[in-house]
């Protein structure tokens, strides 16, 4: 039976891991390769690296780091942040990334999703969507969540699925960094809207939040950063608890 996935997210800036509270106010949480290896050994199912400097400051994602991670860990990982061209994606995949996340570049030029899935297969194209609920409507945001657009989360998700996305990584900006739980009703609606896997992001604070995101939120995978980086939740403990809640996970 297919297991629900637990995905630590490593936000990368200048080759170091950081985690923003509501995307700002960065705190250093270590060396990405060492963290990746530790997470793989502790039962993480997958990893996501987001180069947050790439979008905010136009820095390219570090290929060396990707190669280094691929060399040392034996679970899949996704790299995103500032990815905007086919050549850029090819370089990441050739360096050992299993999947590549695109976000702002897909909003600016949606055909990019078609081009990438045609060239590399939809299985390795993750479309990351940052959205914020404003007056009851979920609006997609650009550039690390700093610029609002008119795009509706659910319409955009449907569009990227049609264009060839293999997976959606949805970050609720209302929930991100505040540790009060995931955006479960939006997540459940997203799962009904599209027929590709959904990674839930933003809001993890307790083990119960993970139980809720898989039951109420119907997510296929749950992503978190600070609760893992600062040791507030150990992945082994989390998985034991999920299993005792009858959620299928890999132990």
């Amino acid at each position: 039976m297919l297991a629900k996935r637990i995905i630590p997210c490593l936000d990368i800036k200048n080759g170091r891991t950081v985690k923003g509270v509501n995307f700002l106010n960065l705190r250093d949480a270590g060396d990405p390769v060492a963290l990746a290896k530790q997470y793989a050994e502790n039962g993480a199912d997958e990893l996501v690296f987001l180069d947050i400097s790439a979008t905010l400051e136009s820095r390219s994602t570090t290929i060396d780091m990707v190669r280094n991670v691929a060399e040392h860990i034996d679970i899949p990982f996704t790299v995103g942040g500032g990815v905007s061209t086919k050549d850029g994606v090819e370089l990441l995949l050739k360096s050992g990334a299993d999947k590549v996340g695109v976000n702002s570049a897909a909003i600016k030029r949606p055909e990019l999703v078609n081009e990438l899935s045609k060239a590399f297969g939809n299985q390795c194209i993750v479309v990351a969507i940052d959205a914020k609920q404003v007056d009851g409507k979920w609006l997609v945001h650009l550039a690390g969540g700093t610029i609002p657009t008119d795009l509706d989360l659910f319409e955009w998700a449907k569009e990227v699925e049609t264009r060839g996305a293999g997976e959606i990584l949805f970050t609720s900006m209302n929930n991100d960094g505040v540790k009060t739980g995931f955006a479960n009703s939006a997540l459940a609606q997203l799962s009904e809207t599209v027929n590709i896997p959904i990674i839930a992001s933003g809001g993890a604070g307790t083990i119960q939040h993970f139980v809720d995101v898989f039951t109420e939120g119907k997510a296929d995978a749950a992503l978190a950063a600070s609760v893992f980086h600062f040791g507030e939740i150990a992945i082994n403990d989390l998985k034991q608890e999920l299993q005792s809640n009858k959620i299928n996970i890999r132990l």
Binding site: R5, A70, L93, K94, D98, A119, N122, Q123, P197
Partner: protein
């Protein structure tokens, strides 16, 4: 040991090379027919979409060479699917080593099938020392049906072949290079065959 990973296009084959490196084996990427023929073991990885991958194989005449190989061959993911009779992806004729067809998962489930799933009914030296119900990492939208050559099964939408074997040809739908310790065990088993 001389291990060749067939390099016939873009995609993440670097990870397979790294996985062998972790086992102390320096596997080489190559599309040279001469090098492939003289290898002790051959890895046939999967990249991208089936019909395009088959075109790339034909361009380098690898479609004629691969089915004639006498050494142990391991097809991974799309590599395994291309060794089957036919795949619905791009309506592509396969190399016909495995006597099953490849079909698309129905829309009753999320497609692609992505993540860690269990494997059952393990029946080959390739799967030695890997417990029943072990989790392996997969990502695919098409599956190989169950047949006489099925040596491991998995369940998603329906029961399908997680691994196949025909004499010296082996195929796995999942990614052993990304499946942690059990995946590494499988690659070690392949080297030991």
């Amino acid at each position: 040991m001389n291990v060749i990973i067939i390099d016939y296009g873009a995609g993440n084959i670097q990870s397979i090379q790294f996985a062998f490196q972790r086992l102390g084996i320096n596997a080489k990427l190559s599309n040279s027919i001469e090098e492939i023929l003289s290898a002790d073991k051959v890895i046939f990885p999967g990249v991208g979409e089936a019909s395009q991958a088959m075109q790339m194989l034909k361009k380098s005449k690898l479609d004629l060479i691969i089915p004639t190989l006498k050494q142990d061959v391991l097809g991974i993911c799309l590599g395994m699917q291309l060794l089957c009779k036919h795949t619905e992806e791009g309506n592509t004729k396969g190399l016909g080593v495995f006597d099953v067809d490849v079909k698309r998962f129905s829309s009753a489930v999320k497609v692609p099938h992505m993540g860690w799933n269990t494997i059952q009914n393990l029946q080959s030296g390739l799967l030695k020392n890997i417990p029943e119900e072990s989790y392996m990492y997969s990502v695919h939208s098409y599956y190989a049906s169950i047949g006489k050559q099925t040596i491991a099964r998995s369940q998603y939408d329906l029961e399908f072949s997680a691994a196949l074997q025909s004499d010296n040809f082996y195929g796995v739908q999942f990614h052993p290079e990304k499946s942690s310790k059990d995946g590494a065990q499988l690659l070690q088993n392949f080297l030991n065959l």
